[in-house]
Amino acid sequence: MQRQVALIKQSLFDQGYLDEQFMELEELQDDANPNFVEEVATLYFKDSARLINNIEQALERGSFDFNRLDNYMHQFKGSSTSIGASKVKTECTMFREYCRAGNAEGCLRTFKQLKKEHATLRKKLEQYFQLARQAGPKEIARRPK
């Protein structure tokens, strides 16, 4: 089971869903805080769901307030960076470029892709954390004491 967990994690990195920042987070776990990464991830998905909702509403209104959209995306990119969500971060960057170019079509397209990446990551991480918990504490990267 632990091998399975390790393989899932490796594939998340290999496929570019996660970057080194995720490993930095794992480094901060220890016996007293064995679920730190999962806690951060939970906060991230709750917070990013809120941002996606805000952006959705802003886009539905039809009038493109690029400043406001860019603002939301700045926050989204920030937290995605902090958790190591590499693909999501890339989509955020693209979205912001379209905002700056005033390209509404580009924004809509990128937002669709972003939501897809976000949902995929969420599913994969949920699976990973669930398996990691079942496998036992050995699989979670720890800081040396």
Partner: protein, 183 residues
């Protein structure tokens, strides 16, 4: 003639260093992002710091008692050794918070570190010019925090040593005077 004791053993229990406790730095962290707050708090705790986290510059000022409302604790009880603040925050930015702190006669000596996800040179320059201790690019690394903590601990140690040295000199001076007066 009364015996005058040599002032060799100094009472160091009344130390005047501003450390919250002998080992722990107390850091006030300011960030509007809930993910980043969790992250920085963990980074600081792992680095053996005492942490207080707030979600806005306004709350930071309230905590420090700089918001004009005089109901907060005085500086002596607070003992903040470092402030780490995000740059881009709604309402008051980290830069504006930095300015307010540097304008305060009570808090201007506290080092303020700015954190930002954007590597904008004029921004960095502006912050450093305004008196920021350091400017860190997000995501902040554990190594950054440890480096900060180490340099602050060294600075605190220097201050402490200077104070103790000064006390020793004063005590020696008094001793000499008493000796001369042949009390």
């Amino acid at each position: 003639m009364a015996e005058v004791l040599r002032p060799e053993k100094l009472d160091i229990s009344n130390d005047t260093s501003s450390l919250a406790s002998p080992e722990l730095l107390h850091v006030l962290a300011v960030d509007d992002s809930i993910v980043d707050r969790k992250f920085i708090e963990r980074l600081l705790r792992v680095s053996s710091c005492k942490v207080t986290v707030v979600d806005s510059a306004t709350r930071a000022l309230q905590y420090l008692g700089l918001d004009g409302d005089n109901s907060s604790v005085g500086f002596q009880d607070l003992k903040i050794n470092l402030i780490m603040t995000d740059y881009s925050m709604p309402g008051m930015t980290g830069y504006e918070l930095l300015k307010k702190i540097k304008e305060s006669s009570v808090f201007r000596e506290i080092p303020v570190v700015i954190m930002s996800s954007e590597n904008i040179l004029p921004r960095i320059d502006r912050c450093l010019e305004e008196g920021a201790e350091d400017f860190l690019l997000k995501p902040v690394k554990l190594a950054d925090v440890k480096r900060l903590r180490d340099s602050l601990m060294k600075a605190e140690e220097r201050v402490f040593k200077n104070i103790m040295h000064k006390r020793e000199l004063e005590a020696n001076d008094i001793f000499s005077q008493l000796k001369r007066a042949k009390i």
